[in-house]
Symmetry: C2
């Protein structure tokens, strides 16, 4: 009968409509990437970067350089977001931590965190354009790491405006990116629960020790990890490699604008997310020490 024929067709139509209503960013399957790339090339991408005292300078400016160059052709807006507008120092606030700065001597064999006085470290400041209370709608939010993440962990049980802001905005973001120990802030906010992620390998024990191995599926050997709309990179310089991969995902593999940007800044990226010699260097449990630590890099577009 006509009635019994109609129902399955209506259900199919409804399911199809629901599928079409899915946020563009969640469409990860290959067949729709060309349409996604087209969408991204047409839209103005709203990029937000979180800034807090003791952020690592290159965690911000490595990825930002790639967006900066891309913004010559693609429409991108930038919001540098902190608790208030104005200068924010990258100088580390005094804090207790197990892992000192990369260049500091390790604090003996003690497992006890000790107060690190790092006021002698260089402290360039960048200007936050928005307080988190006034930040605009965002498509992409990037969260840097740095020694400041440890000081934040001591404040209010580890929940600061950063974690609250990440949590508040997460659902409406197309992508959430973290560099280095920025993944610690993502984990504290809860958005990494049950997800695959990575972090700075020199801070591995500290980050995984605090968050736990049950809550987040930490990947020991990874230059960067993608899980749904969350992209997390290994330490500092890995952020540039992740963001090159991210921009290729956004605008298309071998996109001429991104290729030109990469060759303009003369950066030959690591393109294999599984290349991670620093998991060996920093003795991360589960890292495979039998692989070559070297990588062959070359200008983008020269295969």
């Amino acid at each position: 009968m006509a009635g019994s024929d109609l129902l399955p067709r209506l259900v199919t139509l409804l399911l199809f409509s629901l599928l079409m209503m899915t946020s563009p960013a969640t469409a990860q399957n290959g067949t729709s990437r060309a349409a996604e790339n087209d969408f991204n090339r047409r839209r103005t991408l709203s990029l937000g970067i979180i800034i807090f005292p003791g952020f690592d300078p290159l965690d911000v400016f490595g990825p930002l350089e790639l967006f900066y160059q891309s913004s010559g052709s693609y429409k991108i807006t930038l919001s540098l977001i902190s608790n208030v507008t104005g200068p924010v120092s990258s100088g580390p606030p005094p804090h207790k931590m197990r892992t000192p700065m990369a260049s500091m001597a390790t604090p003996g064999n003690s497992d006890e965190p000790r107060m690190m006085v790092l006021s002698h470290v260089l402290r360039p400041s960048i200007v936050a354009t928005h307080a988190y209370t006034d930040a605009p709608a965002l498509d992409v939010l990037l969260v840097p790491g740095g020694v400041g993440t440890r000081a934040m962990g001591k404040a209010n049980g580890g929940v600061t405006w950063v974690e609250e802001f990440i949590n508040e905005r997460f659902e409406r973001l197309d992508y959430l990116l973290s560099v280095c120990t920025g993944s610690l802030l993502l984990a504290r906010s809860g958005v990494l629960d049950g997800k695959r992620a990575t972090t700075n390998k020199g801070a591995w024990f500290e980050v995984v020790g605090e968050v736990g191995e049950e809550k987040v599926k930490w990947v020991p050997t990874a230059r960067w990890v993608v899980d749904g709309k969350i992209w997390t990179s290994s330490g500092v310089a890995a952020g540039m490699d992740m963001v090159y991969a991210f921009l290729s995902h956004l605008y298309g593999e071998k996109d001429p604008v991104i290729t030109k940007a990469m060759n303009g800044i003369e950066y030959s990226p690591h393109t294999d997310p599984h290349w991670d010699p620093y998991s060996v260097v920093h003795k991360v449990p589960g890292a495979n020490a039998n692989v070559s630590l070297a990588d062959v890099v070359k200008p983008v577009g020269y295969d």
Copy 2:
């Protein structure tokens, strides 16, 4: 006779004393490097970085990250120097240039510079700590490049406070470093006269075209070039490789602090100053296209 014996010995003593009075930075020979390294590890290094509107963000923050990490152990001070203190935007001012931003389409076949409107480009600001009129004594001065260098070339016949400051301070500096088109500012100031230097390969024709091939010995294929106390790097990301080599020169090859810093930020540097695929990519005259464009990189300390 005693008198005729004494004179040569006095002359020798005088020459020896003069040699000892030579600035430490000018001692480039191998035999004194250990003493130089020791001197540098003991002194507080006064680092200045010039900032102007339209500076390239990574030209500053690539090298600065290495100094930032090193400052955890070695004593370093940082002066971010501009015409006045306060925020300085990396956003390009409107200007005429032949070479657009890396990611922009090339402006046809015309050799005529045309006005580039780049006000849509991202413009993160950093905070200048010193006006050039109030900058302290400096040991190392780093000059970034960026699209702003072209706008400066149109002002007052290319002589701005930057060139005057470089010139005024040059004699008393131990080292003068430039990244990317920062070498254009060095050339305009006159300190590169007769020296070997390099620049961003994507801006080669513009830079060499303006300065001339007689005034400066431009090196077409070089990640970076050292001539006396002047270090000049190729484009943007090359600054990090140059500064790793510079820090190794300053503090010693395989210095544990620098090694730890590099592995902490997970950056595997290019260590061969002759590796320069971008001279091929950007078709620089004299570049050898028959060599491999690839480079093998690995963590510092893992040979």
